[in-house]
Amino acid sequence: MTLVSGWGRFPVVDSEVLRPRSFEAVGAAVAVTGSVARGNGRAYGDAAIGAVRTIGMTTFDRVRWFDPATGRIRLEAGVLLSDLIDTFGPRGFLPFVVPGTRFVSVGGAIAADVHGKNHHGEGGFGRYVDSILLRTGAGETIEISREQNSDAFFATVGGMGLTGIILEATMRLRPVETGWIRERVISASDLDAAMRALEASESATYSVAWIDCVARGRDLGRSLIYLGEHVRADELTEDADRFPIGKNPHLAVPFDLPSMTLNRLSVRAFNELYYRMGARRAGGDHVVSLYPYFFPLDSISDWNRIYGRRGFLQHQCVIPERGARAVLADILDRVSKRGDASFLAVLKKLGHGDGLLSFPLPGYTLALDFPVKGDILNFLDEIDRLVVAAGGRLYLAKDARQSRATFEAGYPALSRFNAIRKSLDPASNIRSKLSQRLFDEV
């Protein structure tokens, strides 16, 4: 057995880690009860840890074919989005949807139906997936799509790997003329202004708000809103490269920082500085490389270690649009009074999710990081009660601790999902630590 954790490094649990080299070997591994696939390990909690066995998939990193006329591509599930961007970006194609880090696998992105800064207008990762090759817990290998085995398809998109092992996928890439983004920063002095700004920028391709979750009183919810559009080739000067070079992380956190590094004072000082610097840039447009625009934290490898050995929790909820303002204000008020939520607080508008268990629903999502210490688990239970009462839910790819009741209240399609899962895997061979915690019969 090996000690395994997600990106948040909480919880740390035992699981046997296998790295099969062939699809046959994947099949043999799945034949044992309690397996789940793991991509690049960027799910924060216990989603990509097998109840007994964790099947590492990043060795499956081949592109099967690519059609430059249509942008359609067939690839193995372990291909990372960073690889896709570096390889196909210079050829004029990018993934339609990218999350906040490019170091995720295609299989993981499908399983979590990840969303990006364009979800409000263009939907999630799964919307651009045409078909999936799935190894079920019953031992079958099936091709699933919107037309063929569609129940399995909509259960697999956002299904957290619980319908089987995603082996390959066919998806569409976005044609782009350049790898540059025209960014506009809007500063919003409080929560109302931030929500109005996001509302008013529905037509922007990309939009996201960084929210200062330490600011209190009349500054509560003050934010910087980042809008983005793809830059056309004729907007670049002649000597500019069409595609910027993606640098590998050039900063690293080489060891666990003492958990006191991030205290109330340091977070407050950081946020104050960040807000003031951002507010100064507000107003005009400027052109930035896609890398810092989409993946600001990717330039620091192992940034999760900044929270110390005990790890951290990311709490990401979505609140339906109606009534979101009051609930978000309540959550932010409680969080700002604690003062230990960290600099990565994000507010964003979402649209409809595609999969049965996809996280997004029309409304606002708020993501907050907390170091694991003190009474944080109780505090987050309180926040969950507000989320549930508002008809909201939590993102499974980030979750390490929500209760079954919170989960069941948030995902009304759960019984339908469970029925499809049962038909694909009658013996429940596919099980993760997350499914044991939230789905499986005890």
Binding site: R19, R62, R64, W65, T87, R91
Partner: protein
């Protein structure tokens, strides 16, 4: 046939072989992948075509079947510009100590086969007047150690062969590169305890091989730290060295 340069990778299905093939394809080379199991090489060839719009082909090659080497080279439609040998076998030292057949396979896979095939390509390259030969040897060949001297001695022989070949071929316009990767996270080292700061991923080695070919480097330690580590290991007096277990 294209106007692009061509590279032939012997041991194309290994992790370092795949990484090297990607590095060359990305730089615009057409790629030939050679290995024992041609069917297993095809998905990698398809990957290279899809990613980089280059031509990729697969060839059957068995490093232990030295009798086939002349025919293998003669059967290639074009003599490549670059040939890279990643072929090798770590084996199990403890078994090799008493099992002569296993020891022989390790020696032949790491010394005899790679040296003979690269020597053959060198002759062809010298006849043409240009070409680059890359042999992936090992830091294990720098000094025989208790824990892997069967493998290490074969790599030492291979390194010596490459060194001599380089001296001879350089006068004829042919460049020879010796690569000593150190610890690499691959199929071969899976389950071994590797020292983190001294360990790299296969793509780093692939890029280093391409870089050495383009810059005409002679001997490449993929991580500079290994040059220092091996310098220390090489200079230890034998009386001290023989007491070490590693």
């Amino acid at each position: 046939m294209t106007s692009r340069k061509t590279v032939l990778v012997l041991g194309g299905s290994s992790d370092i072989g795949r990484a090297a093939a990607r590095a060359f394809a990305k730089a615009g080379y057409d790629v030939g992948l050679a290995g024992r199991d041609v069917a297993a090489l095809e998905p990698d060839a398809a990957d290279l075509r899809a990613r980089y719009s280059i031509e990729a082909s697969t060839w059957r090659f068995d490093v232990l079947d030295t009798g086939s080497f002349d025919g293998f080279v003669a059967g290639l439609p074009v003599l490549p510009d670059v040939v890279v040998s990643i072929v090798g076998l770590l084996g199990v030292q403890q078994n090799a100590e008493s099992d002569l057949a296993h020891a022989t396979t390790i020696m032949r896979s790491n010394y005899e086969g790679p040296s003979l095939i690269l020597g053959l390509f060198a002759e062809k390259f010298l006849g043409r007047g240009n070409g680059t030969i890359v042999g992936v040897s090992s830091v294990a060949g720098d000094r025989g150690r208790a824990s892997n001297y069967v493998y290490g001695s074969a790599k030492a022989g291979f390194s010596a062969f490459l060194s001599g070949l380089r001296a001879r071929a350089s006068r004829g316009g042919v460049h020879v590169v010796t690569v000593k990767p150190g610890f690499v996270r691959t199929k071969m080292t899976e389950g071994m305890k590797l020292i983190g700061p001294l360990t790299v991923d296969a793509p780093v080695v692939g890029d280093a091989i391409l870089g050495a070919v383009e810059k005409k480097t002679d001997v490449v330690y993929v991580s500079g730290k290994w040059r220092l580590v091996m310098l220390i290991i090489k200079t230890l007096p034998e009386a001290v060295f023989k007491k070490l277990k590693f």
